[in-house]
Subunit: 212 residues, 2 copies
Amino acid sequence: MTDSTAHALVEPRLNRRQAAKIRTRQKVLDAARSLFAERGYEPATIRDIAKGAGMSTGAVFANFQDKAELFEAVLTEDMTRLAEVVEAGSTAGDPVRNRLVEALSAGYHSSLDQLPLFQAIVARSWFQPLAAEMRARAATKKLQLAIGAIVQDAVTKGELRQDADVRLLVELIWDSYLSNYRRAAYDNWDAQALSEHIGKQIDVILAGALAK
Amino acid sequence: MTDSTAHALVEPRLNRRQAAKIRTRQKVLDAARSLFAERGYEPATIRDIAKGAGMSTGAVFANFQDKAELFEAVLTEDMTRLAEVVEAGSTAGDPVRNRLVEALSAGYHSSLDQLPLFQAIVARSWFQPLAAEMRARAATKKLQLAIGAIVQDAVTKGELRQDADVRLLVELIWDSYLSNYRRAAYDNWDAQALSEHIGKQIDVILAGALAK
């Protein structure tokens, strides 16, 4: 994923001060993303994030309450972007299996350069306050909806059985998708290997739901 | 899971000093397990573990290099015990789907009282040095072998297709099993709810592998 520019966010009617504030916030976010993507969560310090953004730690704290809030903001931006990549990744006319593999393969290809960030996201999702978990779920919801849209479309078209449990299928695909990042982290699998593997997993998951 | 007693480990030929050493080690492990199971990894301190075991921090460090090593020792003990529970949980003659649900349901029932420990195990599995990951895999391997034995048995008996990819099926079942602990952590699902859900997941995962 590439850094987003602040310009897209600046509406013409903002005054100079508001525009500067938004640019500063985005600079902090981009510096935080770089550091999280390089080191993960724990080793990334506010001091180093401030340094990366070329500002004081005070300026960082003027925009974000703490590292956890900063991390959540990065998570939300990145999941929104990844959902767009996944949505755009598949060709509408293809069989559902291929559409899912194309979409999730696009996801792997666009995110593996930020592997420690992904590891940190999943690790934190297992141990955080309930409120933080609910916000994280809202952020990843978009990605699951993108997977869900493909599965639902296949049901509508009659490629999958009318009584297929779309929600359960999406859950299984999503768990497999996430789980595979561990292969990248510990077994050096590249995006190609992950894509082949998710293909096999999807074949198993869909097998019983395919219309005869 | 209940605390194991030191006695089972003490072979008669050990002299008094060796036996005392093993008892001390087990006391530390049991105190650590209690604290990890109550608080998770980060908030559990060596000081509090020592206090729980009724000894000095020095005595803890005489047995374990650091908290990470202590956590790994707890993980290994608990996964061995959980694998035994899972292995004993299913009835040999039952259909493969039921055997898996029985086994994993036994797993949920015996581990939910240690939920924060489980959350910590999964969270750490996403962010740890490669060597630690390999040791953790060795510890959880027993559980996956217990699942694998049930699946393999069903292939051998012709209940599942001869060309079923046992390894892939076990991976999918395992990922679902673990993933469900999040429902317990954040959505207050009890062991019964988790067992019903893993049943649905197993139905989907096995659907294409069932012999016609």
